[in-house]
């Protein structure tokens, strides 16, 4: 242990003290109209001192800790799957097995678990959509939640004012979100990456502000409640049919009413939508347009000199991504039955972006995996609900340092020249 190491540790501990002493050590308190301060409790000071000690010793022994971490094998998620399952011939069977399990398990699981799975599937849809924009086309979109909101409000408003059903609104929501994506993308896609990020972020805020203030139509901050649930060929999942002449699911099949049918039905719709999206996106990636997305992400100038229309390619990625979000939004509105601008704040965009990045940009399996992790982990850590967002932010920073390429980086068949 050298002397400089010791000074370094003292310095880091001092910095930690400066960071903590006022922000944690003193608490602002409003008493009537005057503002007073009070010192932190002994327990809080205990935390501060504990934190400083941890920082001090981790700096003092940073070499040892680093080498200890270096010895830990990096988890290679792709190697968790046995080699025998990786062969191409097994793939369809594996896929079929996964789909069958996904369709069967809700009938055995609890209602809460199925509901959580539905939420996860919504995030998978959103992740897949943003994956096209960020992962494949390399366009940084920080306002993705705007298109999600457009989809959700399209269904809510159409069903509220015109009584249109979920199944009609689903394509309409996607189309309207795509239109918004097109209208926004057309002028701004000429911009360089970071400008695009900030413009899309601003767009997300604009949509939220409009929803919040256009009270006559959107209900403002109170949102819209009582949105109709999806039906199965006109069969409703309520105890008594709501619309005139409609029949309920349990009456039609002559079984007793159970509220979990509705939850399972919503889950199954989500499964079908996700499978449809994965199929669609897989096709798109293999089409010339999908290859053009990736080529443009890798080298824009080379693409242009090869005669690719840069605007059209970017716009297609942006529009298709937006329509996916509209799709997910429509389903979200149907599942919740209630939407308000509160559901479409920036933090949602950040979560979706985190899903794409944690999963490994461009990789669909990675995105699905990350969506599952990101929705199920907070549920498991219920007792830490207060610290949820704090840990979420920390996780993003730590992940970027530890595994910036994501859990399952995208792989392309490739040949490498022998480097000699």
């Amino acid at each position: 242990m050298t002397q400089s190491k010791f000074y370094n540790a003292i310095f880091a501990a001092g910095i930690t003290f400066i960071l903590a002493c006022l922000m944690i050590g003193v608490k602002l308190n409003t008493e009537g109209t005057t503002l007073t301060v009070e010192g932190a409790t002994a327990a809080q000071w205990g935390w501060i001192i504990g934190g400083i000690t941890v920082v001090f010793f981790s700096q003092l022994f940073s070499n040892q800790i680093d080498s200890a971490f270096g010895k830990l094998p990096k988890p290679a998620v792709s190697q968790l799957v046995p080699q025998s399952l990786k062969s191409e011939a097994m793939k369809p069977w594996l896929l079929a097995g996964v789909i069958v399990i996904m369709l069967i398990w809700p009938f055995m699981a609890s209602r809460g678990a199925v509901d959580l799975a539905t939420l996860t599937l919504i995030y998978i849809m959103l992740g897949l959509g943003l994956n096209i924009v960020v992962g494949l086309a390399g366009l940084l979109d920080l306002g993705f939640v705007a298109f999600y909101a457009v989809g959700a409000y399209t269904y809510a408003l159409l069903s509220l004012y015109f009584g249109l059903s979920f199944w009609i609104c689903l394509p309409l929501s996607a189309a309207l979100a795509a239109l918004f994506g097109f209208l926004l993308g057309f002028p701004v896609l000429r911009l360089r990456g970071d400008y695009l990020a900030i413009v899309t972020l601003g767009f997300g805020e604009i949509i939220r502000i409009l929803l919040n203030n256009w009270t006559a139509v959107t209900g403002g901050p109170n949102g819209i409640s009582g949105i109709a649930k999806p039906t199965l060929f006109g069969l409703e999942f309520t105890r008594k049919a709501k619309t005139e002449g409609a029949e309920t699911f349990h009456a039609f099949f002559d079984i007793s009413y159970s509220s979990s049918y509705k939850v399972i039905f919503l889950y199954l719709i989500a499964v079908v939508l996700v499978i449809f999206l994965i199929y669609l996106i897989n096709r798109l990636i293999r089409m010339p347009i999908g290859r053009a997305w990736e080529a443009l992400r890798e080298d824009e100038i080379a693409c242009r000199s090869l005669g690719l229309n840069r605007t059209a390619i970017k716009l297609s990625a942006f529009t298709i991504g937006a329509s996916t979000a509209g799709f997910a939004g429509c389903f979200f509105a149907a599942r919740q039955g209630f939407i308000s601008p509160e559901s479409f704040i920036f933090i949602e965009s950040a979560i979706i972006l985190a899903i794409v990045v944690l999963g490994g940009m461009g990789s669909q399996v990675g995105v699905i995996l990350a969506a599952i992790v990101m929705t199920i982990l907070p549920e498991l850590a219920r007792e830490f609900a207060e610290y949820r967002m704090l840990l979420f932010g920390l996780l993003m920073v730590v992940m970027m340092r530890w595994r910036p390429e994501g859990l399952l980086p995208m792989k392309r068949p490739q040949l490498e020249l022998n480097k000699q």
Partner: protein
């Protein structure tokens, strides 16, 4: 002058007040972007922390029975700058420096994570409710016909102008005259070359973050006193506005950030004069899109030449 033009003048003054604080925050964005080409997403949170520290120090000193307002403000300013700079430095050291040189998206995600972390850190430490400080600087100076429409400039607004002006002057002198300022400029021209010439670029980058955080703390103090309210969520929208201002003026250019901030503040105030106040953000972002369409590199930015 007619009543209407006096009203516009009043809005112009209000707009310039807010705009000059946007400019202070925007400089932090623009300097970091100019040197390492990344959006420091957590910058808005540094501003928020600066505001909190100001409130804590002022409330603490008032509670201790200190009466001299100038001394209280100076102590608050010094402490806020010190703590916010420490936060800025730490964020750079912990979340950005290890990621330098990787894909452009990686530090940005890390920055978003840091922003969420800091915001929730303050929520946990100080609670999520609004904290209000009674106005410290009252009174003002007004002209015009009191029976008709009176244009008033409060002492608080004058203080904001003066503080911003002094800060900008010091910064300009520092950047243009001092050795370190020259190193900063060299870094924004060509980071690799500067490093080859024997300048510790890591130090300069850290310095940039410290300067940016200090300016954000000044803005935090001024806006905190002006509005009299802080909560842990003010950082996001202020950061967004300031970044818009930086892009508006041409990111990477310090005079551009100032121009963009003032322009944005005035535009918002003028919008609030004619439309419901909620729509001023909509107009601000629409302005950004419009300017980027006409001049993609911002008002004072250098057009970027794409090279293979």
């Amino acid at each position: 002058m007619s009543e209407f033009s006096l009203y516009l003048l009043q809005q112009l003054i209000n707009g310039l007040t807010i705009g000059s604080t946007y400019a202070l925050i925007a400089i932090g964005y623009t300097m970091v972007y100019g040197i390492i080409g990344m959006i420091n997403f957590a910058h808005g949170e540094i501003y928020m922390i600066g505001s909190y520290v100001t409130f804590i120090v002022i409330a603490g000193l008032l509670g201790m029975g200190m009466v001299s307002l100038p001394i209280i403000l100076i102590i608050a300013l010094v402490v806020a700058i010190f703590i916010a700079s420490t936060y800025g430095w730490t964020v750079e050291r912990v979340a950005y420096r290890p990621l330098r040189g990787s894909n452009r998206l990686i530090p940005l995600i890390s920055a978003i994570g840091m922003s969420i972390f800091l915001q929730n850190f303050v929520v946990l430490a100080q609670g999520s409710r609004d904290v209000a400080l009674p106005p410290q600087i009252t009174g003002g100076w007004s002209f015009g016909d009191p029976s008709n429409f009176e244009v008033s400039v409060s002492y608080m607004q004058m203080m904001i102008f003066a503080a911003t002006f002094v800060t900008m002057t010091v910064l300009t002198l520092f950047i243009s005259r001092s050795r370190m300022g020259r190193a900063c400029r060299a870094c924004s021209e060509d980071l690799g070359m500067t490093n080859l010439l024997g300048i510790d670029t890591n130090k300069i980058i850290a310095l940039t973050f410290i300067i940016g955080a200090a300016l954000a703390a000044v803005a935090g103090l001024l806006l905190g006193l002006y509005y009299g309210v802080v909560n842990p969520f003010i950082g996001f929208i202020a950061g967004l506005k300031a970044f818009t201002a930086a892009v508006l003026g041409g990111i990477g250019s310090i005079p551009g950030a100032v121009l963009g901030g003032l322009l944005l503040g005035v535009t918002e105030a003028m919008t609030a004069a004619f439309f419901p106040a909620e729509y001023k953000d909509v107009v601000a972002f629409s302005l950004l899109v419009l300017i980027l369409l006409v001049r993609p590199s911002g008002l004072l930015g250098k057009p970027e030449v794409e090279k293979v």
